[in-house]
């Protein structure tokens, strides 16, 4: 395996970047039913190890220094902190009951977690591991997005059907934007100009102007041969250059490729069953998609828009996060 990596490195130096990422990043996948994380090498696309964690791990995210993975262990009612070096759980954060998704301020702290049961967004200081604020939001908050400047955190509430914009200094809710039924995920674009929100039951993605907080576009999806009911968008990722967006369509078993300038859907990539979440490698050459019902991740080559590999994971993979180095 090492030889392959060296060879890949030489290739990379000698001939420029190939279609497969030559730099090795570490990919962490949470297995909702397997109660574990699958660790994958992004270069060899091989599973390195599987780490047992708390019950029903879903949302996961590497801290900004890449030293820890934060894991929402929903049925353990805690957010676990995994030390990447020792691959051990080193701390539990006071997330409140049934945490599902989290996000981290670009400064490295605090971490924001949605408490579905209490209609709250909780902010936790990562250094002191203490709750610094709780903000009342709509019913069943879930998706959490943070603006690149760290000044705004957005939480989506699944039953109120709103994206709540919250000021990260004052913890005031400043705007509430009504979106389609059951909004599950929120993602700012890299330039901070837009917020993309997926609505699982409505089957849409809503693009919101981050400044005016007005809806720019509601994107609809239609996959030939797939009933509209099965199109249930969850994860979304927009490329750093703002040209393309990828939307995971759940039980439609497709990742939609959207032109992020015109908002036209350009392609549907066939992946595994019930695709949940997505993550780019830092060089944006590969996109990993978790397939909850087929127990694998699909690896998408971003430049060619081809699904190049499927990697077996633990049971019911859900979240995915990738190291910067």
């Amino acid at each position: 395996m090492k030889a392959v990596r060296i060879l890949a490195a030489i290739t990379a130096v000698g001939f420029g970047w190939g279609p497969v990422a030559a730099q090795a990043y570490t990919v962490y996948v949470s297995n909702e039913k397997g109660n574990s994380l699958t660790v994958i090498d992004s270069d060899t696309l091989q599973v390195q190890t599987t780490i047992p964690v708390g019950q029903r791990p879903r949302g996961i995210m590497l801290t900004k220094d890449d030293k820890h993975v934060l894991i929402c262990a929903s049925d353990s009612d805690t957010m676990q902190m995994l030390d990447v070096a020792s691959r051990k759980i080193v701390a539990d954060l006071p997330s409140g009951p049934d945490p599902e998704q989290l996000n981290i301020n670009p400064k490295g702290s605090p971490v924001y977690v949605a408490n579905e049961d209490d209609n709250l967004l909780t902010a936790i200081d990562l250094n002191t591991k203490k709750v610094v604020a709780e903000v009342e939001v709509g019913v069943e908050p879930e998706g959490v997005g943070v603006s690149p400047d760290g000044k705004t955190v957005v939480v989506t509430s699944e039953t109120s059907n709103m994206a709540h914009f919250i000021d990260t200094d004052t913890y005031e809710v400043t705007d509430n934007v009504l979106v389609g039924q059951r909004p599950r995920f929120a993602q700012f674009t890299a330039d901070g100009s837009q917020l993309w929100v997926t609505s699982e039951v409505a089957g849409t993605a809503t693009v919101i102007d981050a400044k005016t907080r007005k809806i720019i576009k509601v994107i609809h999806f239609a996959v030939p041969g797939v009933q509209a009911d099965y199109i249930q968008p969850v994860g979304v990722r927009v490329t750093k250059d703002g040209t393309k967006a990828f939307v995971a369509l759940g039980p439609a078993n497709r990742v939609a490729v959207v032109n992020a300038k015109t908002f036209e859907v350009e392609d549907y990539l066939l992946v595994g069953k019930r695709v949940w979440q997505l993550a780019f490698t830092p060089d944006q050459k590969l996109l990993f998609a978790t397939n909850g019902n087929s127990n694998d991740v699909s690896v998408i080559d971003v430049p060619s828009l081809k699904v190049v590999k499927s990697i077996a994971t633990g049971e019911a993979p859900w979240g995915v996060t990738i190291s910067r180095e």
Partner: protein, 418 residues
């Protein structure tokens, strides 16, 4: 500050309060989906949306199983928790929802009770009453700005010959329930049915629905038998022994079958059938494997959160009638927040229109059928402890929406709204 990096609770409270005040202060918004609730001034009052809940009390026999005793607040607790959900959202949309519950005693005047609710400004009223009472209520407010939600009556006639323009049904009808069960049994290849029914009119109605489903989905009814004995005391000291002998004899001597389907809506003998049939066969229908809108152990599609908050609130499990009332109140809330209105006309139009959809923990949106006002919803197939499946089943195709393979589809509708 007590600790570095930690905001003192008082400040937190103030901040939350301030945020709340600012967010509820947004002016009435134009009815386009592109508006966002910006904070403007701090002193305008929220729009009030009063909702009525009319429960007609009826005589019930004590159920055979103590587990099935109906909670006093059945349905009402579902409406109340939906009201809380609406009001959490209402904080941000400047709307306040109210719920007024009226219990009409046995032999009481339900029509007069509804008139009172309407006169005190309730345009939206949930009704938990038998079909005949519901029809009287509907006709009594025919020319008023009133929308009734039938949260409990499953009778087919309310969706067919006796459908009413001012009634929407969140309770699934008998045909939907029978179709949902039939699809699962056919998917399971349990296609030979032995059907056993009680002697009451409501048992015959369910029997008709089962016969219709068998024909639709290709099952064969190999035998039908009626249980004629009328219920006496629910329990006697020699009861168990007798039943152990009665049930096998009653189910003896029928052609080979895969599953026994029982139509006993009052629960007089159906609960005795599982494990007591002559042949070792599963029981489905009104006992054993049943079709329902909600099960207390349903946890798919985010339902865990719904179950958690209901149980914390009501101190008991959430039952189908609670869910049906929850959907009705949430439908009103959803229409009010989308139309930025508390008035009858826009809310009524929105709920019935093409824009309306509602996330209701069923893995797809729920909407109302235009041809008969029935809520189109997936149906849970469950044993006593756990859900077994959700219908529609894969492979039962429909030209528009698979969920319309359950119940009365548009081409077969006899509903002419009046």
């Amino acid at each position: 500050m007590v600790q570095a990096g930690r905001i003192h609770p008082t400040w937190l409270l103030l901040a939350v309060l301030l945020g709340f005040l600012l967010s509820v202060a947004a002016p009435a918004l134009a009815a386009d989906s592109n508006s966002s609730a910006r904070s403007v001034s701090a002193d305008s009052k929220p729009t009030l949306v009063p909702i009525g809940y009319l429960k007609q009390e009826v005589k019930h026999l004590i159920p055979l199983s103590r587990l099935n005793v109906k909670p006093e607040d059945l349905g009402i607790a579902g409406a109340e928790i939906a009201l809380k959900d609406n009001n959490t959202t209402g904080k941000f949309t400047k709307q306040k929802f109210l719920l007024d519950v009226v219990r009409v005693p046995i032999d009481g005047d339900a029509v007069a009770a509804l008139q009172k609710l309407v006169e005190s400004g309730h345009h939206f009223v949930l009704v938990d009453a038998p079909a005949d009472v519901l029809l009287k209520l509907s006709d009594s407010v025919k020319d008023r700005d009133v929308l009734l939600f039938n949260v409990s009556a499953p009778d087919e006639t309310l969706r067919q010959e006796n459908c009413r323009a001012n009634v929407l049904h969140t309770a699934p009808d008998l045909d939907m329930l029978a179709d949902a069960l039939a699809q699962y049994l056919v998917w399971k290849k349990w296609q030979r049915w032995f059907v056993v029914s009680g002697a009451f009119p409501e048992d015959r109605a369910y029997l008709d629905a089962v016969r219709r489903s068998a024909k639709r989905f290709g099952a064969k009814i190999v035998a039908e038998r009626e249980y004629k004995q009328k219920p006496g005391a629910r329990r006697s000291d020699t009861g168990e022994q007798l039943i152990q002998l009665q049930m096998p004899v009653f189910t003896q001597g029928v052609p080979s079958y895969d599953v026994l389907i029982v139509a006993d809506r009052r629960g007089n003998f159906g609960p005795y059938l599982p494990y007591r049939t002559w042949d070792p066969r599963p029981v489905a229908g009104t006992s054993g494997l049943r079709a329902m809108s909600w099960h207390p152990a349903h946890e798919q599609w985010g339902a865990t959160q719904m179950q958690n908050r209901f149980q914390r609130f009501a101190k008991r499990f959430m039952l189908p009638l609670d869910y049906q009332a929850w959907v009705a109140v949430r439908a009103i809330g959803e229409a009010a927040s989308r139309t930025h209105s508390g008035d009858f006309a826009p809310i009524n139009a929105y709920i019935r229109g093409d824009q309306f959809d509602l996330a209701a923990f069923k893995g797809r949106k729920v909407t109302f059928r235009k041809w008969d006002g029935q809520l189109r919803q997936p149906i849970i197939i469950a044993g006593p402890e756990l859900p077994v499946s959700t219908s529609p089943q894969q492979g039962f195709l429909h030209e528009h929406e698979e969920v319309d393979t359950l119940g009365i589809d548009e081409p077969e509708s006899k509903c002419k709204f009046k």
